[in-house]
Symmetry: C2
Subunit: 392 residues, 2 copies
Amino acid sequence: MASSHSAHVAPAATRPVQAPSGFNAQARAVALGDVVLESGRTLPDVVMTYECWGELNDDASNVVLVEHALTGDSHVVGDTGDGQPTPGWWPGIIGPGAALDTDQYFVLAINVLGGCRGSTGPISLAPDGEPWGGRFPQVTVRDQVRAEAACLEALGVRRLHAVIGGSFGGMRTAEWVAGFPDRVERALVVASSGCATADQIAWGHTQVVAITSDPEFRDGDYLRHGTFPTNGLALARQIAHASYRSASEFEARFGAEPQPGEDPLEGGRFSVEGYLDHHGAKLARRFDPLAYVRLTQAMATHDIGRGRGGLDAVLEAYEGELLVAAVDSDRLFPVSASTRMVRAYGRGRLRMIHSPYGHDGFLIEADQVASLVQELVQRPLRGTPRLVRGVA
Amino acid sequence: MASSHSAHVAPAATRPVQAPSGFNAQARAVALGDVVLESGRTLPDVVMTYECWGELNDDASNVVLVEHALTGDSHVVGDTGDGQPTPGWWPGIIGPGAALDTDQYFVLAINVLGGCRGSTGPISLAPDGEPWGGRFPQVTVRDQVRAEAACLEALGVRRLHAVIGGSFGGMRTAEWVAGFPDRVERALVVASSGCATADQIAWGHTQVVAITSDPEFRDGDYLRHGTFPTNGLALARQIAHASYRSASEFEARFGAEPQPGEDPLEGGRFSVEGYLDHHGAKLARRFDPLAYVRLTQAMATHDIGRGRGGLDAVLEAYEGELLVAAVDSDRLFPVSASTRMVRAYGRGRLRMIHSPYGHDGFLIEADQVASLVQELVQRPLRGTPRLVRGVA
């Protein structure tokens, strides 16, 4: 895939640029020029933004790429600030002496293509100077990883010491392994899958319908119309959030407790309802609805085996180090999806993250994940990776 | 509870009436007059419709009550017809020689209070001659079962040979046991619970939000405004339907197959998306949105132990025969909810329905459920039920 990659992004066009205004001031950016998508469509003027920590070493061999999840961004660690409404989603993982030790590694996180936190997406301006809106094309996880590879090339990075990601970030990590096996020395895929399950597609569908059937969505052109599908986006998040948690955690935490000051027998809410309302409203204040749709569609079409002989063949052929971990209570990315990857890879065993929280355990059980990160980045390479044979 | 019941419904007011027009021509109806709800509000002119099969015996001791689920109705068996858009939801269960043998039993099914298939609900006319719409009060499972008891009293039925129900119908069955223990000789609760779980409340909430945030909902007064929240109701059903099925069934049945004639990489749908769209649209053509909301709220507030010393005490005290069955792949009414009822009752063991389909297994595995029904109705009573002591 490495060779076909250059057909998709014109490397000559890549250049460091000013990060788009309105986003995290610490983010940097690279302009990729035209990107040809998996669909054959060309997305012009693509800009990818990223944050980085530590120093790139002389032979650019100390790079660790951290892949964020659906509504995450490149701000893996750090405070809120101008253009950065959320604090780091994985506090403590990066820094001197941390699992991703900045005395040793150059850690990068790139905002996903099609998202809304700096990299090109539906709220970016199209060549006509207007936001893309509903015209923003469907993108795939493959498109997203190719754009990330091009971004890294522009920074002089051709191979990665490790790629790490959970959930949707785990999907992109798996795609790195599948699409650029010669560039990825080590990969950690947490609470994720090598291809979307029918169940994930089903739950994603209800979320897309929630957003697109909100009359304020206006076929994705809400910016132009001065509307905003707040209700639809908030509902999508509520559905997603319920799927991110476990029934037993909901029961232990909320049971049938009423929302303080409300009586469910008199039209008031239960506590778990107030909780979902809160999380829905919160996301609707900080995320772009069409980006949510496009990323959800990207997840639905995720399949690292498509056109490559299937998932099993792809992972079996991977010569780097692959670590796969599942959350034992995850009902969205079931343990079976992780087991399938481990079996296909054929080496090592599935790592289990113990958590009562369900899928969100990949974020909440940060210490367990950090241990896996540490194990991965310190792991010596098993065989002779293809990249040192000079084929990369 | 039997004595407090008469305070809620004025028995003198009950009388057989013409079933409301527009509904199943085979349905019959009883007018209950004013019904005082658990909230203290009075719901006037309540009419309950029912269907029945077989003959009531001389001492009215052969009555079996079948409780329908959320979007079901009193049409347990039979074809579609005028005012009856759906065929019987449990074909074959009732008839000569069937599990509910009409040569032996008088089988009744009553449409639920607050629903939209004949009994009083949001689309019924209020005393001012206009549909209740958004004015229709919240009702509880307790209100629903009390109205059913009053309906049966009007028909001369004071005790039940058996009550049988799955899912929301199982909630009402459990409430019969809790609220009218002296009248229920035998009960079968399938794929249900004695009180709503936080997870059920959460998923129900997303469905209520889907409907009520559709601008065409108009605070429940869509009939008056000539609008209809089709999108919201369809989405609610999609969310519900996904929760009724299992991830493994979705995977085996749909995987990542595209909807015929569509390409998910080009904006088209996957097959599982087409399936959900179909089921959402189908329900939106036949069900009332506010009834869906009111019934979902009733399920959320379901707790047979409320004000009665708790679920465990209620079931432990029940002297009739209780059979509890769970579907092993159910992710909406988990096996643990059934286990809890069995433990509280303290006699017999949990019956497991084996099914790959998830919650919907309670409908799909009709033969397994029919066996349980047959076992229950033929079961001799263990002790001396209170009702023959003359306290009922």
